[in-house]
């Protein structure tokens, strides 16, 4: 127990918790994106995938949900605690400071993280629990729910903006998490991070495609 406590109490331990929980969510986000893209194969395909998840794969779905919830809580709590420590570490700011290495990804981790956390809540209330109904939604008809929601410009806009932050979060997170976990490969050059760049672009594009395509009536 004391080992776990001392691990968690250190900045390195918290950062490792953040990296591991982040990578779990990266894995989920990729699966989620691939699932979404089935909307381009039509209503039957997407709805039968959803029926499969809620039917035969229901236990697996719940295990995944619990793991994701734990990962999210661990990620947010460690991020919050580290932010408090980091802020306290520099009580007097510089009159002039010119950052040279920090990327738009690394600089937007905190604000982007807050936006993504709010987005996750909204998104679950929207498509999972159907609590928020920007348009009339029916349980089980994922295809129709997507079509109805993303025909509204403002709903599409919220999703599009959130996905920009997801892309930026992944660009820094996918690169820095593996380094935090002890893999040394990779350079500071912000363009020489092929895995993180490709991952961020693919996930961003994959998620953005669906609402935008629905909005412009490009979905069968």
């Amino acid at each position: 127990m004391t080992r776990a406590v001392s691990f968690w109490s250190s900045t390195v331990g918290k950062k490792i918790v953040m990296a591991v929980s982040g990578l779990i969510m990266v894995g989920f986000v990729i699966l989620h994106m691939v699932g979404n893209l089935q909307i381009f194969e039509g209503s039957a395909k997407l709805n039968s995938y959803s029926a499969f998840l809620h039917g035969p794969a229901n236990e697996v779905l719940w295990i995944v949900r619990v793991v994701l919830l734990l990962a999210l809580v661990a990620h947010v709590v460690s991020a919050y605690q580290l932010t408090v420590l980091d802020r306290a570490a520099r009580p007097v700011p510089y009159a002039k400071r010119d950052l040279q290495a920090a990327t738009i990804g690394s600089r937007t981790m905190r604000i982007g993280g807050i936006i993504l956390a709010l987005f996750i809540v909204l998104h679950i209330l929207h498509f999972t629990t159907l609590t928020l109904q920007p348009a009339a939604l029916t349980e089980g008809d994922v295809y129709a729910n997507g079509i109805a929601s993303f025909q509204l410009g403002w709903v599409t806009a919220i999703y599009v903006v959130a996905m920009i932050f997801l892309g930026l979060h992944l660009y820094h997170g996918a690169w820095s998490s593996v380094r935090t976990l002890g893999f040394e490969r990779g350079r500071l050059d912000p363009f020489k991070r092929p895995v993180a760049i490709v991952l961020a672009l693919v996930v961003w594009a994959g998620f953005t495609l669906v609402p935008v395509a629905v909005y412009f009536h490009l979905v069968p």
């Binding site: 691990f7 390195v12 520099r90 290495a101 690394s106 935090t180």
Partner: protein, 257 residues
């Protein structure tokens, strides 16, 4: 060259400070930044004003004393150099230059641009040492060190403990310093007996001093006058994870070599 300086002045640790403007006139472009400061201080002294206090010693980039945030860059705009190795030709004539002390809670200002970096000494005291055998020195080649390990150890050992990493870090983290000291010893056979205890205790001391955590912005690597890589932080984390998996006896008992 003629320059305008905006310098942080603070009479003592508890005194309030502020940015004060000074003119540096007829400065040779060949002068180092510290020599330029000397010229400004000479004029202040002649005028009967208090000269600007700043740390310096070797003036050749090996002691780690000099420490100034120059125009928003730790040790100035050039890479791989300390403030003492920065020359005025790196600036435009007529430029306005901001000069500030390291801004980290763990480095309290002593006076003007001088900060107290004893926090680093305490991190070293927490584990930056090895147990050495007493008695006559054995032949150096009795202890075999792979070339790659000695290279990596030397890269880390280049750290002069100036504090630029913590000063440049947006999180006020001294991870690069701590990692350099840890990985320097962890690469070598002589560093093995305390290897896993060392990483835990030095990180704990780093945190206790009030430094922030690493988010891999990478600012430290560019600020470091010795160009120490953030790879050292990855290596430190790796040892930290191994140490976390060990029992207390194992840790104290030494590494696996």
């Amino acid at each position: 060259m003629n320059l305008t300086l905006r310098v942080w002045r603070q009479a003592g640790p508890k005194a309030p400070g502020k940015m004060v403007e000074y003119k540096a006139t007829e400065i040779s472009p060949e002068a180092s930044f510290l020599e330029m400061m000397d010229v400004v201080n000479d004029e202040l002294t002649l005028k009967g004003e208090e000269p600007i206090a700043f740390d310096h010693d070797c003036r050749e980039g090996i002691c780690g004393s000099c420490s100034m945030m120059i125009d928003g860059h730790a040790h100035g705009p050039n890479q791989g150099t300390a403030t003492c190795q920065l020359h005025m030709r790196s600036f435009e004539d007529g430029a306005t230059i901001f000069v500030e002390p390291w801004r980290v809670r763990a480095f309290p200002v002593v006076k003007d641009l001088c900060v107290d970096r004893s926090a680093f000494d305490r991190i070293i005291a927490a584990g930056g040492f090895i147990t050495a055998a007493t008695g006559g020195a054995q032949d150096a080649n009795n202890v075999l060190v792979p070339k790659v390990a000695s290279d990596l150890a030397m890269d880390s050992a280049a750290c002069i403990g100036c504090g630029a990493c913590a000063a440049a870090c947006p999180n006020g983290s001294a991870s690069l310093f701590t990692a350099a000291k840890i990985t320097h010893l962890a690469q070598l056979p002589q560093g093995q007996p305390e290897r896993y205890r060392r990483v835990v205790e030095m990180v704990a001391q780093h945190d206790a001093e009030g430094f922030g955590g690493c988010t891999l912005h990478g600012e430290c690597q560019l600020a470091c006058p010795k160009e120490i890589s953030i790879d050292t932080i990855s290596r430190m984390n790796r040892d930290y994870m191994v140490a976390a998996a060990m029992s207390q006896e194992e840790k104290v008992g030494g590494g696996t070599g």
